[in-house]
Symmetry: C2
Subunit: 183 residues, 2 copies
């Protein structure tokens, strides 16, 4: 995973990530220069590690996305297929609501072959859950995992808070119903 680097470079990289996480949580469009400054490095150094804003944000979310992806097989093993799918969506909703950047990152990943490293596993996780549902006859046949991820994009446009939570639940219900066999 982590390519070997010179010790100082590795330290800089980690400090940039740490500061960036805090800065972007506080204000989602904090400037890269200001992050570099807060991390105590020159702008060129930040640029060397993360050639674009996207690359930086992606690096931040990579860990959490990996968690999410890893959850899919676990849920599939412990629950009936349709329940597993719903539970995984709810977890996705949780991430969606606290991390707004996710939408933009996933959308970018879709259009950039290099970033499939992140998008691919997400789609894989959904596909796993969908195919299980399909096998048990609890959803209609042939539903595309990429389509479903795109459809779920509403999640990161929902405001946080009580009302948002209720809204996410309602919409999730609509989507789940849509996946089921045609009436």
């Amino acid at each position: 995973m982590n390519k070997p680097r010179r010790a100082d470079a590795q330290q800089n990289r980690e400090r940039i990530l740490k500061i960036a996480r805090e800065a972007l949580a506080a204000s989602p469009d904090a400037s890269l220069n200001s992050i570099a400054k807060a991390a105590g490095v020159g702008p060129g150094t930040l640029y060397r590690h993360f050639p674009s804003r996207e690359a930086l944000v992606l690096a931040l979310y990579r860990h959490e996305i990996q968690q999410l992806v890893g959850l899919a097989p676990a849920l599939a093993a412990q629950h009936p297929p349709l329940t597993a799918l719903r539970l995984w969506f709810e977890r996705l909703a949780h991430y969606g609501r606290i991390k707004r950047g996710l939408a933009h990152v996933l959308h970018a990943a879709m259009n950039d072959g290099v970033l499939r490293e992140t998008y691919g596993p997400m789609v894989g996780a959904i596909d796993l859950l969908l195919r299980a549902c399909e096998a048990s006859g609890s959803i209609r046949k042939g539903v595309n995992a990429e389509d479903v991820l795109l459809l779920m994009g509403f999640l990161w446009r929902i405001e946080p808070g009580r009302e948002g939570e209720a809204r996410a639940k309602r919409l999730l219900g609509l989507v789940m119903n849509g996946l089921q066999s045609e009436s």
Copy 2:
């Protein structure tokens, strides 16, 4: 609608809109300064007419949104409720795919009371179609129009072209199925 203005101000406003339409179509994040320059006005003038980028983009889409809103009653009068709903969604998809900015604008409108002038009619149009479906028993009861608009947000994240068209159709099918009575 149009407040009376001095003739030169009105002309400037219109030329800015015309140039902005072209510039933003060519490159969605053309700078405001460059638009002002292309329109032959000072940056202050552009700023006076449109105090933010959002305000400018919203003004551009207002006309097309009005068209869309006006279409709802017409469709409802000419088709069975469920068909009317689907046709309206397809029209929305068309706008979505050619005009990317729409997503951002509608999202902003949602959070900004002043802009409800645009968001409200959109929701109203959807509500009209939904209620007709509900009355005829072709969808489940109590579906929220704002929820549905949010759910349809995937439309402006779809790439243009043949494949995007097919994708929009598939996803629309999922949504329509989700709206129907619970199995």
